[in-house]
């Protein structure tokens, strides 16, 4: 990914629709689609955490 790429860019590159409702985290912190990603980041993408 080029410098300055965002979470949305990274997901688009692997075919995940940025309009779908997902959550993402880097290093255990929730991040959103405009957050920048860096080399070596572990980006975790998952569905909304809900449930009772």
């Amino acid at each position: 990914m080029p410098d300055g790429s965002t979470v949305a860019d990274a997901l688009a590159a692997i075919g995940i629709d940025s309009e779908a409702q997902w959550n993402a985290s880097i290093g255990g912190q929730l991040v959103y689609k405009d957050a920048e990603v860096s080399d070596g980041d572990d980006l975790l993408v998952f569905s909304p955490i809900a449930g009772g």
């Binding site: 409702q21 255990g28 912190q29 009772g52």
Partner: protein, 632 residues
């Protein structure tokens, strides 16, 4: 009238007298059903200051216009009373089959008053309503009591809402169990049944179901949901496979700090993978079941033969139970967690408050505030599965340390002293569910100010509305305006939470299940088709505000004011490991958000006291006389 039976059954157990109220249609349009009916009757009829476990309390089991309809997520009840746990307003929703039978017998609600002089159960059929002797059922588990009732009435597949020894012994967080495994869990409503010597409500109805105004529309909407729920944005197909607590949901929660562990002292649990719903079904699952007429079928059934014996009729753990009885207690032994969940159902104990209260005991024990002498030899360390089971048995019987822990965390901390209140994870006395308000901070506003206490069903789960897209579109109808980060506490977040809160209270009145992805506008269509009214979204949102306001006034009358709208101190700090390192809630921002919520509800921004103007807007000016009077 269409959609509602027009009859509310009133059972006075003291005099063993049964009467029927027949409210006008205007009452139903104003309060609808479920939570609306509960809130109205609690404020109107439960006297101020009574002991929640005295005959003066009222136990209300209410259905809504959707009750009995053959559509997904429609067969639900809202159960309410003054809470023996919080001393305030309490309600809890439950599914299963019992609500359908009561509606089909021709009743919209049951109000139980007084106290029977010996154990009884209520038998409701097309032939009438009987108060039956239950002396021989007292002491039996929910399952055994159900089986005996089925046998002695000769009514095959009769449905029961019952209590076990937890309710009989008035454990303050005892619950009501529908059909052996579905719980009206929160607030101690099962203890209220126990206080009235009411073992069960057994029902079988066929001839009293009110007609729908537009049955064709009901069928159309049912077909739409049955054929399309898998495609609805935000619906997770795993709900039909393993129910709540699916693997990826729990491990991602664990990654970001939403897996309560060790009494919320940590929020990452190394063994999360071992206690998910997916693991539960892989190792012990026997199938999936559903509530009446529901295509989603999100209820696990499980069976274990050793080392514990678990009967599949008693259901399997939901996400909340996996968290509360598992990670929150530091227990990674899946079989023990499933057994603990079964005991909660057999004894009628709220699995959330039960797990969080035992975790409280464990933290006291680890900090030497409780000793082996106090626990009667139970080694109440975090992670001790055997101790978990032993303690549940002790709580249900109120024996030894169980007598203290049967009081819930708030009272138990007062009994134990020595700073134990630091370990009591509760709001207004109601223990926190398995969604950490440090991650879902908007939900933390609701935990703080909701009348019933920390209730995860009362607000928006922030992680479901963090960005634009199809998922957000699905929720717009209820009034969400803008997607926001989970830890946002701005006025915009408060607005989203207010919309979701009032929407959920409307849903709790309809009554619709939160696991069936009906949109707000579909629910409005269902209410209109059932009742024949031109019901509108505006009315639904007004209803939600009306219920929240009535609950607020009920609490104010009991002295539960704005100072009680507060999370435990622990949540204003981060954790040492996991996704919440340095990630506590900013208290000043949370306080501001709570006051902004008061303002958006039409309550005084400082005191949280509803204004008379707002009461008039909501059509409940009658409630003004219940407001605290200004000090002269």
């Amino acid at each position: 009238m269409f959609g509602v039976a027009g009859k509310i059954l009133r059972v006075d157990l003291t005099d063993r007298k049964i009467t029927v109220d027949e409210p006008e249609e205007e009452f139903y349009r104003m309060y609808l059903g479920g939570a609306g009916i509960v809130s109205y009757y609690l404020l109107k009829e439960v006297p101020q200051g009574i002991d929640a476990l005295s005959p003066e309390n009222k136990f209300i089991y209410a259905l809504g216009p959707m009750g009995g309809l053959a559509m997904p997520g429609a067969t639900r009840a809202c159960v309410g009373a003054k809470s023996p746990l919080t001393g305030g307003y309490s309600k809890s929703e439950v599914g299963g089959f019992v609500p359908m039978e009561i509606k089909k017998a021709g009743y919209d609600a049951i109000i139980v008053e007084g106290k029977a002089d010996s154990p009884v159960y209520l038998l409701i059929t097309d032939d009438g309503v009987d108060i039956k002797d239950a002396s021989h059922l007292w002491g039996k588990t929910v399952m055994d009591a159900h089986d005996t009732i089925e046998e002695e009435t000769g009514i095959r597949n009769i449905r029961t809402a019952a209590i076990g020894s937890g309710g009989e012994n008035m454990v303050r967080y005892a619950c009501v169990i529908n059909d052996l495994k579905d719980a009206a869990g929160r607030g101690g409503l099962g203890a209220v049944m126990g206080s009235k010597n009411l073992k069960a409500i057994a029902a079988r109805g066929r001839r009293g179901m009110p007609k729908s105004a537009d049955p064709k529309k009901i069928r159309e909407l049912t077909l739409t949901m049955n054929q399309g729920f898998m495609e609805v944005p935000l619906f997770n197909p795993s709900m039909s496979e393993v129910g709540t607590g699916e693997h990826s949901m729990m491990i991602s929660g664990n990654e970001v700090g939403n897996m309560p562990s060790y009494n919320f002292g940590k929020n990452d649990f190394p063994a999360t993978e071992a206690i998910t719903a997916t693991a539960t079904m892989e190792v012990y699952g026997t199938g999936m079941e559903g509530c009446a007429a529901c295509a989603i079928r999100c209820k696990k059934t499980v069976e274990i033969n050793e080392p514990w014996n678990v009967d599949k009729r008693n259901g399997g753990p939901e996400y909340e139970a996996l968290g509360s009885l598992g990670s929150t207690c530091g227990v990674d032994d899946l079989a023990a967690v499933i057994k603990a969940n079964e005991l909660a159902n057999l004894y009628s104990l709220d699995s959330i408050s039960l797990g969080v209260t035992i975790a409280f005991g464990m933290e006291c024990f680890e900090n030497e505030i409780l000793t082996l002498e106090d626990t009667g030899g139970i080694d109440l360390r975090f992670g001790n599965a055997e101790a978990l089971i032993q303690t549940i048995e002790a709580i249900a019987k109120r024996e030894g340390i169980g007598a203290t822990l049967a009081e819930g965390t708030k009272r138990a901390a007062e009994i134990i002293g020595q700073g134990a209140e630091e370990f009591a994870m509760q709001v207004k006395g109601l223990e926190l569910p398995m969604h950490d308000p440090r991650v879902k901070q908007g939900l933390g506003i609701i935990y703080s100010m909701e009348a019933a206490g920390a209730d995860h069903c009362a607000g928006l789960h922030d992680t479901a509305a963090t960005q634009w897209g199809a998922g957000f579109e699905h929720m717009k109808g209820m009034g969400l305006t803008v997607p926001l980060p989970a830890d946002d506490l701005s006025m915009d977040k408060v607005a989203n939470q207010r919309a979701a809160h009032t929407n959920n209270l409307f849903k709790d009145s309809a009554i619709a299940c939160s696991f069936v992805p009906w949109t707000f506008s579909q629910l409005i269509e269902i209410i209109s088709a059932a009742t024949g009214w031109s019901y509108t979204g505006h009315e639904a949102q007004q209803l939600g505000q009306r219920i929240a306001t009535l609950g607020r006034i009920f609490n104010l009358r009991e002295g539960i004011d704005a100072t009680r709208d507060e999370l435990p101190k622990r949540f204003f700090n981060g954790t040492e490991t996991g996704g919440l390192v340095g990630g506590g809630i900013d208290k000043a921002k949370m306080d501001e958000a709570i006051h902004n919520m008061y303002a958006m509800m039409g309550w005084d921004e400082q005191t949280g006291i509803p204004t008379k103007v707002k009461l008039a807007e909501l059509g409940i000016s009658w409630a003004a006389e219940e407001l605290p009077q200004p000090v002269a």
